[in-house]
């Protein structure tokens, strides 16, 4: 507890800044209110024709009918060009929050239904229930069938809303409800209790595995549903007066364009944040750009409000940090830079500015070093990082202490994964196997082919490159480029007559101390066989 860095604390007494929020969702409006309460200026780019809630009215700059045209600049100093009606607007802000609403559409086709008078989507049902427009549902012997997550599993928050709707319908006079589902999604808080309550209230639940009912609309507007009963294995028929379908929650249509203009990563569904635990909860690949609510995933109403508080904290902390110490510097040596723009293309954090000179923006840079390894002119330097030199030192040490017949191995490892695992095994009293030198690197992406070849040149029998697992790189692509570079280095080794097995790529996480040792030992075993092929023949 003693050796703590003394510069970890900073004051947040005087934050004067302006933040741009994209979206007019409840989440966006709550973020605006939170930030304004903390003395931050807020400009909110809303959709068409919406108006602010009373809590933020007159306190934020509310722009409706907007479209982002261009985003220039970097953390602490973004310049945004916005189409606002027929005008063009220019804004300079310190941070950006994307908090657009999600888009919700009823799942008609999943149940082979078409929108119709007696087919109700979940959101429509909620509107009707909210405004007590339930007369149409009540009557004598009204049967309402709720369809939830058949071939495509429903999101737990959607399933929860279906259950809430079901309970309310069941309470209407003369209504009986039937809930038909595949996997019953009860992972939302309180859902299991709702199922229990609904059962007590008289809702009948049907669960299906693999084989689902068929729904036939009748001429009178009702439906007949033929469903397989899993316990008796017979098919039964149910007539329904109404059918309620669940919904799919997706990113809003216009989110994609915003993502492109802001230069932030996207997940495979289309939300404005890559599916990477290192982005938890509101971070993006760009410093100073945050994402919240329905822009980052499927969140329930309560979760969206909570997310607003969370992103507010993250934004305030970021603004307070702006005056703090920057990370270790990355600099481009102007005499060597040929303006090839490789670094600009490689940088996952958009931290390289193309001006009269090419420069690294300290505020946006996250010191991954992907550019240093990728620069063909070797013009980029990273403060305190000397991989080549360290490799030679480790190898010289190994050559001095290890017996000739034992293999010597250089292990390069990302400080966020293998580096942590290395610390773990050290503190648990273990040591790396004999003959292994560990070189910690800021990111897998810091390694260039020359570093790998350099290790062989210095006398290594084998080189192991430890990177983070796919989708778990702090710099998103560091592990991907590392793999590519190592693979092309393998080709070079092959053409030089060196066995490609001498270079191994391994993915690890921060808490895999034992596996780290296990992997190294397995590698040493293989290298021993490569060094002594006769032995292998004898044994085999």
């Amino acid at each position: 507890m003693e050796n703590k860095a003394e510069n970890g604390v900073r004051g947040k007494e005087s934050l004067s800044a302006e933040v741009m929020i994209f979206g007019d969702s409840v989440c966006a409006q709550r973020i605006a209110a939170n930030l304004v309460d903390n003395g931050i200026g807020v400009c909110l780019a809303a959709g068409n024709g919406s108006s602010p809630a009373s809590i933020i009215q007159d306190r934020v700059q509310w722009l409706s009918d907007t479209r982002l045209n261009h985003c220039h600049g970097f953390a602490g100093n973004f310049t945004l060009q916005i189409d606002h009606g027929h005008n063009q607007l220019k804004k300079t802000v310190q941070a950006i929050v994307v908090a657009e609403d999600d888009s919700r559409s009823p799942n008609y086709s999943q149940y082979r239904l078409t929108p119709g008078l007696r087919v109700v989507g979940l959101s429509d049902l909620e509107e009707k229930l909210k405004h007590s427009m339930t007369e149409s549902f009540s009557g004598t012997d009204t049967r309402i069938v709720l369809l939830c997550g058949w071939r495509k599993d429903a999101h737990p928050s959607v399933a929860r809303r279906m259950l809430e709707g079901c309970l309310q319908l069941q309470a209407q006079p003369g209504v009986s409800t039937y809930f038909m589902t595949g996997n019953m999604k009860v992972a939302s808080a309180g859902s299991e209790e709702l199922v229990h309550k609904a059962k007590q209230a008289g809702t009948v639940f049907f669960k299906f595995t693999g084989v689902f009912p068929t729904i036939q609309p009748q001429e009178n507007g009702y439906f007949t549903i033929d469903y397989p009963d899993e316990s008796t294995r017979n098919t039964f028929q149910l007539t329904a007066d109404w059918v309620v379908v669940d919904e799919t929650i997706e990113p809003a249509n216009h989110l994609e364009l915003l993502i492109q203009k802001l230069g932030i990563d996207q997940d495979h569904i289309g939300f404005a944040q890559s599916d990477n635990v290192r982005r938890l909860s509101n971070f993006t690949n760009r410093r100073g750009i945050f994402v919240a609510g329905g822009s980052r995933g499927v969140l329930s109403h309560a979760e969206q409000l909570a997310d607003a508080d969370q992103v507010s904290l993250n934004v305030l902390s970021f603004l307070g940090d702006l005056d703090g110490e920057p990370l270790a510097g990355v600099t481009i040596k102007q005499g060597l830079c040929a303006r090839c723009l490789t670094c600009v293309r490689l940088c996952p954090h958009r931290a390289i500015e193309v001006g009269s000179r090419i420069t690294v923006i300290t505020e946006a840079c996250q010191s991954c070093g992907i550019c240093t390894a990728g620069c063909p002119g070797r013009a980029i330097e990273m403060e305190g990082v000397h991989i080549g030199l360290e490799t030679i030192q480790r190898m010289n040490h190994l050559l001095a202490i290890t017996f000739v017949e034992k293999p010597r191995i250089v292990v390069f490892g990302c400080m966020r994964s293998a580096g942590q695992s290395h610390t773990l095994i050290q503190v648990s009293g273990q040591a790396l196997p004999e003959g292994v030198g560990f070189v910690e690197i800021p990111c897998g992406g810091t390694i260039a082919g020359r570093h790998l070849l350099g290790a062989f040149e210095a006398g290594a029998d084998g080189v192991m490159l430890c990177i983070c697992h796919t989708d778990n790189c702090q710099s998103e692509i560091g592990n991907v480029v590392a793999r590519k570079r190592a693979e092309s280095t393998r080709d070079l080794l092959a053409s030089a007559g060196v066995e490609t097995e001498r270079l191994r790529i391994v993915s690890l996480s921060a808490n895999m101390g034992n596996e780290f040792v296990y992997r190294i030992k397995a590698f040493i075993k293989d290298i021993v066989l490569l060094n002594n092929p006769q032995k292998e023949n004898k044994n085999g």
Binding site: M1, H155, A189, V277, L280, A306, L313, L424
Partner: protein
């Protein structure tokens, strides 16, 4: 906002407590974290990374990140082996605690592991899974035979470093707290009451045990003979979604962690045959659909909860269940059975709630500030799995969001 004269006490140094500590410390607040076990990190720090080659977003690595973050902050103090005794005042509060001195001297211990081998009670000597805070090896007082009047001193006598010192010494102390944050986490369900032979058959283990086996041994080793288990059954909802026991909640994380573990085992043991007994598969993560599809192709998914497990003469486990496909009672033989135990309210919740005047929900969790319909004490907050089952990512969210509320609260005073 100047908060550098404010003090917050966090009870519990799990992933939620540590995340909140980091956030609050960033605002110059003095943070004290009380942790009753010898190590910080909670349950999460003991979990295994479940990535095959691609990260599956289990979040296990987050615990490590948050812990090393908290340790580095000069204004965060973690008190291990320390329990809250009582709380007084109306806000600011005075938190009274009791700290046991560690039984293992961290400066002397070199982690050789001899004590592990000597100890006759499994699970008594713990090895920390986290960057060093205090001792790295610790002895659980509640299990140790020395404290059970049996006066066993095998570990102390065998320690080559002379690092073990038995003592019942405890020091009392108190902390000023402008706000108190409860992050006491959950208790894993004890499946001894279920007909699965847990506690009788050593090869029936819990999902938390399985995490540790995978982390420590890489392969899924059987406790009885150390052999690598090839036929493995996962049984879901052990203790959760259990109306008979009054547990009307889904523990939320078990489908995700067990299916991910199953796929991890298959990536390491090519021939592993895995069966998954379940009621409903719950959604986890953004890539659930593709992950689930892959799991269905490689894992035998059986929508049934077994009724009995018998240990055969060959030291195998015979699982008896009602097979939904053939509509008849069947049995299957496994080398190892993993019970996905539910997340229960922490055993100390009732006492904690009484001490703080916090209303428990119908299930016995301590709901977050926003949800109870009754007044809650000023300046007290609850986060993480103390409030109900949640994943690591959700615990982080819950902590960050509540940290914002606390900062807001402290700024107004």
């Amino acid at each position: 906002m100047n908060l550098n004269n404010k003090h917050v006490t966090i009870i519990g140094a799990g992933v939620a407590g540590l995340t909140a500590a980091c956030c609050l410390a960033d605002w110059d607040i003095h943070v004290s974290v009380l942790e009753k076990t010898p190590f910080p990190g909670g349950h999460a720090i003991q979990l295994t990374c479940k990535a095959t080659d691609t990260c599956v977003k289990c979040g296990a690595c987050i615990a490590e990140v948050k812990l090393s973050g908290a340790i580095r902050k000069p204004n965060v103090h973690i008190f291990t082996g320390t329990q809250m005794e009582s709380i007084s005042g109306q806000g600011p509060y005075r938190v009274h605690y009791r700290s046991h001195s560690p039984l293992v001297n961290a400066d002397r211990c070199n982690g050789c592991g001899i004590c592990f081998k000597k100890c006759p009670v499994p699970g008594t000597i713990l090895q920390g899974q986290a960057p060093r805070v205090g001792p790295y090896v610790a002895i659980r007082r509640d299990l140790c035979r020395y404290f059970d009047n049996a006066a066993c001193t095998l570990c102390r006598d065998s320690c080559p470093q002379g690092a073990i010192h038995f003592s019942n010494e405890a020091t009392a102390g108190e902390l000023k707290a402008d706000a108190v944050l409860v992050a006491t986490g959950f208790s894993p369900y004890n499946p001894a009451a279920k007909p699965y032979g847990y506690g009788l058959f050593q090869n029936v283990i819990t999902s938390l045990d399985a995490e540790r086996v995978l982390r420590d041994h890489y392969l899924m080793k059987r406790p009885t003979d150390g052999r690598t288990a090839q036929r493995i059954a996962f049984i879901q909802c052990v203790g959760s979604r259990d109306a008979k026991s009054g547990h009307l909640w889904c523990s939320k994380i078990c489908c995700g962690s067990s299916l991910r573990m199953a796929r991890l085992i298959q990536s390491r043991q090519e021939n592993a045959e895995i069966s998954f007994f379940y009621i409903d598969v719950q959604t986890f993560g953004k890539n659930f659909h593709s992950f689930y599809k892959e799991a269905q192709e490689n894992i035998k998914m059986i929508r049934a909860i077994p009724g009995d497990i018998i240990n055969t003469k060959m030291d195998e486990l015979q699982v008896i269940y009602f097979d939904p496909d053939t509509h008849s009672s069947r049995d299957a033989i496994f080398d190892l059975v993993v019970l996905s135990v539910g997340l229960m309210p922490s055993a100390g919740n009732a006492r904690m709630a009484g001490e703080l005047g916090w209303p428990l929900d119908t299930q016995g969790f301590m709901p977050p500030r926003s949800s109870p319909n009754q007044p809650v004490p000023k300046g007290v907050f609850t986060i993480g799995t103390a409030t109900g089952p949640m994943s690591i990512a959700e615990s982080v969210s819950s902590a960050e969001q509540t940290a914002f509320e606390i900062i807001h609260f402290l700024g107004e005073r």
